[in-house]
């Protein structure tokens, strides 16, 4: 009986792994195709489509744009999130629960609707479509995330640590720089990297709010119009690689916070 369960489990798990990896394997494999269609039979390996991607200035500048928007908007989101989390965790403010609810509210609304709202507003206000507009949208989706992560990590123990610093003569800004930020560093990094990956991958807001200069997911979308193309496979594989690097960095910061 136990043996049957084990064999069945193994078979099931392998089937699910196969399902999960099938598209990724096909993507990466046919990015190495030497002919013009990413469909069987496999004719590679060849790096010609990677060369094509790297020499395509639209794609490379979109990649730079994506990294810029992701890093700047994440920095803004984590800064605003940290300051507000600190304010709410440390001080008694009237209507605190309501205001905290307001900050986390965008988490429950889909990106499409957030993007639509900004599009309508910017359209009325005469704000042109730009990377800046998309970046503003990315802060809207990542600020509640950073706030929630950092706020949840501000325990009562840290209140006394900050009090001790004040008691020993530290002015408020030194409490912040020398005590609060270092103690909260793991949560701050977690918020930052998670925001980076979300912004890096975000499509619909960038699609609605940018026009000529755009981010990589939107540029890849534009590539799709030409149908199946190994160049799309190559750029997709590159994006995958960058995401994995971000995730590994995130894992490392999570692991490093173990000794408390």
């Amino acid at each position: 009986m136990r043996r049957i369960v084990r064999i069945a489990s193994l078979a099931y798990a392998l089937a699910v792994y196969a399902f999960i990896f099938l598209p990724v394997v096909v993507l990466v494999l046919f990015s190495l195709q030497s002919t013009s269609f990413p469909i069987p039979p496999f004719t590679g390996p060849s790096l010609r489509w990677y060369e094509a991607v790297l020499s395509d200035t639209r794609l490379t500048s979109a990649l730079v744009n994506s990294l810029l928007v992701a890093s700047i908007s994440s920095l803004a989101a984590v800064t605003l999130g940290f300051l507000s989390a600190w304010g709410f965790a440390r001080f008694v403010l009237p209507g605190s629960a309501l205001l905290r609810g307001l900050i986390t509210l965008p988490l429950t609304v889909s990106y499409l609707i957030i993007g639509m709202g900004l599009l309508v507003l910017f359209n009325w206000a005469g704000v042109p479509k730009s990377l800046l507009a998309a970046g503003i949208g990315h802060v809207v989706i990542n600020l509640p995330l950073c706030f929630a992560i950092i706020y949840s990590q501000m325990g009562d123990h840290q209140i006394n640590i900050e009090r001790a610093a004040r008691d020993l003569g530290a002015p408020e800004w030194k409490v912040l720089l020398l005590v609060t930020v270092p103690v909260m560093a793991p949560a701050i990094f977690a918020g930052f990297f998670l925001s980076m990956t979300f912004s890096w991958d975000e499509f619909v807001i960038s699609f609605l709010l940018t026009r000529f200069d755009t981010t990589l997911p939107v540029e890849i979308w534009n590539l799709l119009r030409s149908g199946l193309n190994p160049k799309t496979n190559a750029v997709g594989s590159l994006v995958f690689a960058v995401s994995i690097v971000l995730v590994v960095l995130f894992e490392l910061t999570l692991l490093r916070r173990k000794p408390v």
Partner: protein
């Protein structure tokens, strides 16, 4: 009387509707070891927070060295606090923790390190300078917190249940050490606890608090031997309490009618005054004794062997609602169900306002 080091004048405090301190006044002398003793909710921790500057009192004033500190922030007061959870900075080494206060004062790093080492040596932890707080045991962290607070030479050191997180054996050991360190540095310590043994072992001056008020204060020997109120008679050590009324006076003695019969005590008081009598367990004599005041007979309900003595609970036969708490020698032959005579010496009876 000279100016006291700390002068708390008519301090009251409310959290919302809840009054946690009710018109408290207290003076603290330089170099003394003061214990604020009371059950949870008595207001002792709030009083300490007011001294430390973490809470501004609703009413009243706090003067330290004659200066009004009532609404001065913690950093500018000549006080430092040792927190119950120690509040060591987890990302800094032990040395950096101890040197933090000096760094805030702008002291250069060489002097800082030297002073921090000195302070760590004072608490017996010279070798931990480069360690991180999480590498230390609970008792060691406690001592680092003490060194960190002492190194900036405060006029008053505030300790919030400093031994609360330690196990019993370590607590007794740290008690002795705290007392020794306080004598060595000569700083006034104000220490909050709910442990009366800790209070008796450490205090020069013991302040018993209950329900936002000071019930009693003075040398612990005095507070124990002659408690001022019924609360301090039962909180600072145990007591059997007899309620009664003065029923007659004569020859320097008064007769008090109690629930277990009349008792004669030295002193005079007007007839009809309500009075409460407290008797410490070690003063209650069970069986045939040579004491001068009989207290009737009682039925033993419980005997607990405590090592050096036996703690005996016995219900009075005259008034089964009254329970005697007595200390019998470890060798005493006594069992639940026994009926015993109870007595004591009139001189050991503590008179309290009824």
């Amino acid at each position: 009387m000279s100016t006291p080091l700390v002068d708390i004048r008519n301090v009251s405090h409310r959290f919302g509707q809840l009054a946690v301190l009710k018109n408290v006044s207290l003076r603290i002398e330089p170099g003394s070891y003061t214990i604020l003793l009371g059950p949870s909710g008595s207001g002792k921790t709030t009083l300490l927070s007011i001294l430390g500057g973490f809470v501004n009192p609703s009413e009243g004033k706090v003067l330290i060295r004659g200066e009004d500190c009532t609404s001065m922030p913690p950093a500018r007061r000549p006080t430092t606090t040792v927190f119950q959870d120690y509040a060591l900075f987890p990302h800094m080494s032990v040395g950096a923790n101890v040197g933090f206060g000096l760094r805030m004062q702008g002291v250069d790093s060489a002097t800082r390190a030297a002073k921090a080492r000195e302070a760590l040596a004072l608490v017996g932890l010279a070798s931990t300078f480069d360690k991180k707080p999480h590498q230390l045991s609970g008792g060691q962290r406690q001592r680092v917190a003490l060194a960190r607070a002492l190194v900036i030479e405060p006029a008053v050191l505030l300790l919030d249940e400093p031994l609360g997180a330690l196990d019993l054996k370590l607590r007794r050991q740290m008690q002795d050490e705290l007392k020794a360190i306080q004598k060595r540095v000569g700083t006034a310590f104000i220490h909050v606890t709910h442990d009366q043994e800790e209070a008796m072992a450490l205090a020069d001056h013991c302040v018993v608090m209950n329900d936002g008020r000071i019930e009693d204060e003075g040398a612990p020997e005095r507070v124990y031997a002659r408690p001022a109120t019924r609360f301090s008679a039962t909180f600072m050590g145990e007591s059997t309490i007899l309620a009664g009324n003065v029923s007659g006076n004569g020859n320097g003695h008064m007769t008090i009618t109690t629930e277990i019969g009349p008792i004669s005590l030295p002193g005079t008081s007007s007839v009809g005054t309500g009075i409460a009598l407290a008797i410490r367990p070690e003063h209650i004599v069970l069986g045939e004794g040579r004491s001068d005041t009989p207290l009737g007979t009682a039925k033993v309900s419980d005997v607990v062997f405590q090592g050096s003595f036996k703690r005996v609970l016995a219900a009075s036969n005259q008034n089964p609602g009254l329970q005697f708490i007595a200390k019998a020698p470890a060798s005493a032959v006594i069992q639940p169900g026994d009926t015993v005579g109870v007595s004591c010496n009139a001189g050991d009876i503590i008179q309290l306002a009824g």
